[in-house]
């Protein structure tokens, strides 16, 4: 028996960091498209059902359009889609799962969508699901605690595989991003170690956005479409898991890629003006003229001369326009090169500009905010000098 394990769709994520509304809509739309790709994979791989281990929606209160789009996308999956609430879309008062417009859309568009809101086994034809839904916002206890009652598993003595669904963190892993902190969202801790290893056959986990195995039978599927820049500790985002499970056996897990967008992070340090060209080359190679599919977190450091600094500005402006998003951390210092300093400072025909340039160069050689301002002023003077036909 095969099924698809996925989680953290976080449909309706606002991507507020993307200032351009069109690009923001594209990125948002791609998450819905990822659901359709999951449906296609389920068909392709012969999965019996799809498990979504929490955070189907990004928020407790998604808009109607997001709900409708989600239900439509889910309806394209021809097998049951079993969902538990996660920390972003937990159950309880005010949850989306009790809102009339959701229930109406679910009934009309996605009858295959099953939302498990109780700590009670859910039986499928060829598997028994043990859901650990997050039932309230202020849940602090381990949502899997109810499984520690031996009677829970003893009620089933057939050969159907027993599959846990839970959403939360295990051990040191935490999956909170900046938005979570803004919204005051926290993760629940799950302690599967307190369960007898043999009572379940697979633990379908959610919350961690990278694909990650955390036990012989326990996996985080990760988000099917990457939604943030990786921070190093995350790995393999943009996947779903194809799981083959049976009672009493170790599950076979296959990672299937579903992501289409590229979330790239690049740290680059300029040590000379010629590095600018190298950077440009690296970016071209990375994007392969498919800039519209990429989001880039670019961290720039080092220093550049006045001309190169201006050229870097132009390059960054181009990237800003082309990419879905350019998240820039520009710590590049503008430091005029000897030639530039000589051109400005040693200019005998324009003595006023020359003296000002000399003073600015002295200030820019220092440290702190004044040096940064002086470098900027120097660059401006340089630009004006060229514009006025100096040199």
């Amino acid at each position: 028996m095969k099924f698809i394990h996925t989680a953290d769709w976080q449909l309706g994520k606002p991507f507020a960091g993307i200032s351009d509304s069109l690009k923001r809509a594209l990125v948002s739309r791609e998450r819905i498209e990822a659901v359709r790709r999951i449906g296609a994979a389920a068909v392709r791989e012969g999965a019996s059902f799809v498990l979504v281990a929490g955070d189907l929606f990004d928020s407790l209160t998604p808009e109607r359009a997001t709900v409708s789009a989600a239900c439509l996308a889910i309806s394209s999956i021809p097998v049951p889609v079993v969902v538990i609430p996660g920390n972003h879309d937990h159950s309880g008062p005010g949850s989306i799962w009790a809102q009339q417009f959701f229930l109406a859309e679910q009934e009309k568009l996605a009858p295959n969508l099953v939302v498990l809101l109780e700590e009670r086994p859910y039986e499928l034809e060829d598997a028994v699901i043990f859901p650990c839904p997050l039932l309230r916002r202020s849940a602090v206890s381990d949502p899997s605690a109810w499984l520690r009652d031996p009677l829970v598993f003893n009620a089933f003595d057939d050969l159907r595989p027993r599959i846990l669904m839970a959403h939360g963190s295990i051990g040191e892993f935490q999956s909170l991003d900046d938005d979570d902190r803004v919204a005051g969202i926290s993760s629940s801790a799950i302690d599967l170690g307190r369960l007898d290893r043999d009572v379940f056959d697979y633990a379908a986990l959610g919350d961690w956005h990278g694909t990650k195995q955390v036990g012989t039978k326990a996996w985080y599927a990760g988000t099917p479409e990457q939604d943030r820049f990786s921070r190093g500790e995350e790995n393999l985002p943009g996947n779903i898991l194809l799981v083959e499970a049976s009672r009493g056996a170790v599950p076979k897990v296959e990672i299937l890629q579903t992501a289409r967008l590229g979330w790239e992070t690049l740290h680059y340090t300029f040590s000379s003006d010629s590095d600018l060209e190298l950077l440009s080359g690296r970016l071209d190679a990375l994007f392969q003229k498919e800039h519209g599919r990429f989001l880039l977190h670019l961290v720039l450091e080092g220093s550049l001369g006045l001309d190169s600094s201006v050229m870097l500005e132009e390059l960054l402006q181009a990237l800003e326009a082309r990419l879905l998003r350019l998240k820039l951390e520009n710590r590049v210092r503008t430091a005029p090169g000897p030639m530039e300093i000589a051109a400005l400072q040693g200019n005998a025909t324009d003595p006023l500009s020359a003296r000002v340039a000399g003073r600015l160069a002295g200030m820019a050689a220092g440290e702190g905010d004044e040096a940064i301002l002086a470098a900027l002023a120097l660059r401006e003077l340089h630009g004006l000098f060229i514009r006025e036909g100096g040199r």
Partner: protein, 910 residues
């Protein structure tokens, strides 16, 4: 360039005026209206106004009366050559002629152009008064403009000055075109960011970024508030549900406790009934036991009482015997003391009577004396009264003449005497000098030597032979005098008659007597009043009589009581006796008191002993009665209960029954206490209250959850968390954008400020030579502590200011009028000195009454400054009404007061 001479003809007041100028120092003097200003104006017109000028300017140059066209001739030196200029201002046909010493001659336009080149200005094709005045304005101080700021503003000579300053500064400090272009662009960028005061400019990118940031932050706060409201509702519902669950659990516990307490209370009620029954049983068992106990107690008590009574009676009776003996002794002692006291009382009574008798004698003596004195007084008073009445009687018999009557009588007598005197004055006196007594006048015989006064016609007979009729003169007057005399006499007589006197003398005597009698009577009345001021003397006299009588009776009565003490002979004897009897009475009374005290003490002792005897007798009787009663009762009890042993046995049986009943009751009571029924009742109340509150709380939780759920009901039109994410990111981006713009703005500001600083430094260097020259001129007047400064803005010089002795600098407008004139002169001289290099080392500087606000003392110092300018090559020309003030300048002096050919009544001013 230097002026050598000038001739002005037909120019307003001047018909033909010539002045030769000193190469260095010339003073043109002259009183008001002598045409000084007009003369130098004419020279200025000659230098700068084209000869073909028409219109108002030319009209203003014309004399008042018809005359040929105005002419100005100027001889000057420029560039090492001497030039002669001749202009005739005849409108469109005006002529200009310029020649030099080398024989060159220029006419018309050529001459004008050559002249413009010599004076270093552009030709004025269309001259206005203002444009004309701008020519050489810094060299030409027009009358009344001495205090004007001498800064070069748009002066035609400014470029020359700047070139000179560049040469002086030793460096080219002006900006290149690129510098200028950069600065202009930079200034524009700066102005796009900031206002003139350095604040972010409205509508600027910086201001827009700042406002966008603020708006974003407001949106973020609003989104956060909305999201927090949502979270609050969720938390409230969750909290209410959790609390509701806890309350439900608590409710079950409370109900269980309630049932247990109710059961306890039922049990307690049952026990209470049983206890009541057992209490009745115990009371029934207790009654016979209690009765027997009481009997036994009573027997014991009676036995104790009998013993006590017997113990008490023996000493009591012994004490009674002793008391009886002491009572009889005390009775005897009291009777003896009473007898002694009675004797002493009789002696005292006797002494009292004797003393009373003596006192009545003394009082009688005193009453007799008083009555005698009163009788004497009465006699005196009677005497005064009789005397007064006799005087009154005598007074009443006197004629009724008083001082008023006397006055009337005197007046009537005087009138009579005056009437008689008048009559006699008019009457004729007839004296019989020799006769025989036959002479009869008026029918009366007149003896010899007798005179008759005739006041009426009277017949004089003498011896019957002669009869004469004498008719005194005066006619009616005599008659009237006689009538008046008669009337006076009659009135006087009637007055005498009215007052009952015969003459004036008698009236005077009667009045004297009346006065004497009145005085005597008043004396008698005064004495009487002294004796009896209130008229009660008689009453007092009569009272003393009665008192005397009473004293006699009292004395007689007292003598009777005293046992016949005889009356003393005198009052002194009586008083001696009185003292003796008073002493005897004191002694008798002291003795009586002593005896009385002894009797009282004996009586008190007797009384006390008698009372004590009575009490003890009564007590003895009571004791005996008690003893008898106890013995009787004891005997009766023993008989009723069959003796002491039988009583003891019955008591033991009754106690056993009672203890059994008490034990049963105590057991039930212990059970009841253990149940703590009062506490159970309170528990029941407490639990009822807790259940009620718990139900109430559950209801509140439900209501709270219900109300907050309404908040959580959504229609999907918005996503508060998504809105918050977007708003937070928006705020972050807006902040970043603001910081980026701010950084650019600050960089622009830094660049702009550095340019301004460098320009200011350039300007400072550029204007330094001029400032130094101004300083050196002013120091001639104000000493070495003065510093002058002037700014160069890249176009013009301005902001002249001075600083003295380390104080703050003062701008031109802040100076006094005189100081403004002096500083202005220093600036002009400095500029002229700098410019003179381009004019062959010299230039004329004209001061037309330029120091009218400078006080005479300063004018002296001012001459040092002017002299320095002349020494430095300038040609100083001063026009003054008071040329004497400039005497120490050592200047060549020209006076227009002299025989200069001028037109009468001309206008001297411009």
């Amino acid at each position: 360039m230097r002026l050598i001479s000038a001739t002005v003809r037909n120019y307003r007041i001047h018909r033909d005026t010539s002045v030769n100028f000193d190469p260095s120092r010339t003073i043109i003097g002259g009183g008001n209206e002598t045409g000084k200003s007009t003369f130098v104006e004419a020279i200025h017109r000659g230098l700068f106004l084209r000869s073909r000028a028409v219109g108002e300017i030319r009209s203003s140059m014309l004399p008042m009366h018809a005359a040929p066209a105005p002419e100005v001739e100027i001889t000057m030196e420029a560039g090492g050559s001497r030039y002669h200029l001749m202009k005739r201002f005849s409108g469109a046909s005006g002529t200009t002629q310029l020649s030099d010493g080398a024989g060159s001659l220029w006419r018309g336009e050529e001459a004008e152009s050559r002249l413009a080149a010599l004076v270093g200005v552009s030709e004025l094709q269309r001259a206005s008064k203002e444009r004309l005045q701008e020519q050489w304005a810094h060299l030409w101080v027009w009358q009344g403009q001495g205090m004007q700021d001498p800064s070069l503003r748009d002066s035609p000579l400014q470029d020359r000055l700047i070139r000179r300053l560049q040469e002086e500064g030793g460096a080219v400090v002006t900006q290149s075109d690129t510098d200028t272009g950069i600065f202009r662009a930079l200034e524009q960028r700066y102005r796009e960011f900031y206002t003139a005061t350095g604040m972010p400019k409205a509508g600027s990118e910086l201001k827009a970024a700042m406002e966008a940031r603020d708006r974003s932050e407001e949106r973020r706060i609003a989104a956060d508030t909305a999201y927090q409201r949502l979270l609050f509702a969720i938390n409230e519902v969750e909290k209410a549900e959790a609390e509701s669950l806890e309350c439900s659990k608590l409710g079950a516990t409370l109900r269980r406790d309630h049932a247990a307490v109710s059961a306890g209370l039922s049990k307690a009620a049952e026990l209470a009934g049983a206890i009541i029954r057992k209490e009745a049983d115990a009371k029934l068992a207790e009654a016979p036991w209690k009765a027997l106990v009481e009997v036994r107690e009573r027997v014991l008590e009676l036995q104790r009482d009998i013993s006590l009574h017997m113990e008490s009676l023996a000493p009591l009776e012994a004490m009674l015997e002793d008391l009886k003996r002491r009572v009889s002794e005390a009775a005897a002692a009291y009777e003896a003391a009473a007898a002694r006291s009675g004797g002493a009382g009789s002696s005292t009574a006797m002494a009292v009577n004797s003393l009373e008798c003596i006192r009545s004698w003394v009082a009688l003596f005193a009453a007799e004396e008083t009555h005698r004195r009163m009788a004497g007084l009465m006699q005196q008073a009677e005497g005064y009264s009789i005397s007064s009445r006799a005087l009154q009687q005598e007074l009443s018999l006197l004629p009724a003449v008083d001082s008023g009557a006397l006055s009337l009588l005197r007046e009537a007598l005087s009138e009579l005497e005056r009437a008689d005197a008048g009559l006699q004055a008019m009457a004729s006196g007839v004296t019989v000098l020799e006769g025989d007594n036959s002479v009869r006048i008026g029918g009366k015989t007149v003896s010899e030597g007798e005179s008759v006064l005739l006041d009426d016609a009277a017949e004089i007979e003498a011896g019957g032979r002669f009869r004469f009729m004498i008719q005194p003169g005066g006619g009616n007057s005599l008659l009237l005098a006689r009538i008046k005399s008669e009337e006076a006499r009659n009135r006087f007589s009637s007055l005498l008659e009215r007052y009952g006197v015969g003459s004036m003398q008698a009236a005077l005597e009667a009045d004297g007597r009346r006065r004497d009698l009145s005085a005597d009577r008043m004396t008698a009345d005064a004495s009487l009043r002294a004796l009896d001021p209130d008229g009660m003397l008689r009453m007092r006299f009569e009272a003393s009589g009665r008192q005397l009588e009473e004293a006699r009776i009292a004395a007689s009565s007292a003598a009777g009581r005293s046992g016949g003490i005889p009356r003393p002979e005198t009052e002194a004897d009586a008083r001696a006796l009185l003292e003796s009897f008073e002493s005897a009475l004191g002694e008798a009374r002291r003795k009586e008191r002593e005896e009385h005290d002894l009797m009282a003490a004996s009586g008190a002792l007797f009384q006390r002993l008698q009372t004590e005897l009575q009490l003890k007798t009564e007590e003895s009787a009571r004791q005996r009665q008690g003893l008898d009663a106890c013995r009787s009762e004891l005997e009766r009890l023993r008989q009723r209960h069959g003796g002491d042993e039988a009583l003891q046995e019955a008591l033991g049986r009754a106690l056993g029954d009672k203890n059994e009943a008490d034990g049963a009751l105590a057991a039930l009571q212990a059970l009841y206490r253990d149940l703590q029924p009062s506490q159970l009742e309170k528990d029941l109340e407490r639990l009822d209250r807790a259940e009620r509150l718990n139900r109430q709380r559950i209801q509140e939780c439900r209501e709270c959850a219900s109300s907050q759920r309404a908040v959580l009901e959504r229609d999907g039109t918005d996503d508060p968390s998504g809105t918050l994410y977007a708003a937070t990111e928006g705020a972050r981006q807006a902040e970043a954008q603001y910081r980026a713009v701010l950084q650019r703005a600050m960089a622009t500001k830094l660049l702009y400020e550095l340019f301004c600083e460098e320009q200011a430094e350039d300007a400072r260097r550029f204007s330094r030579p001029l400032a130094d020259k101004i300083t050196s001129y002013l120091r001639c007047m104000f000493g070495p502590g003065l510093e002058a400064a002037i700014d160069y803005t890249g176009k013009t010089f301005s902001n002249i200011r001075i600083q003295r002795g380390g104080t703050g600098s003062i701008g031109f407008s802040g100076l006094s009028g005189g100081m403004q004139e002096q500083v202005s002169a220093a600036v002009r001289l400095s500029i002229a000195e700098l410019l003179a290099e381009g004019y062959g080392g010299t230039l004329p500087v004209v001061f037309d009454d330029a120091f009218t606000n400078t006080d005479p003392l300063r004018v002296q110092l001012l001459q040092r400054m002017l002299d320095r300018a002349a020494s430095n090559g300038l040609q100083i020309i001063i026009l003054s009404c008071n040329p004497g003030e400039y005497a120490s300048l050592g200047a060549s002096s020209v006076s227009l007061d002299g025989p200069v050919r001028r037109e009468e009544g001309g206008d001297g001013g411009i």
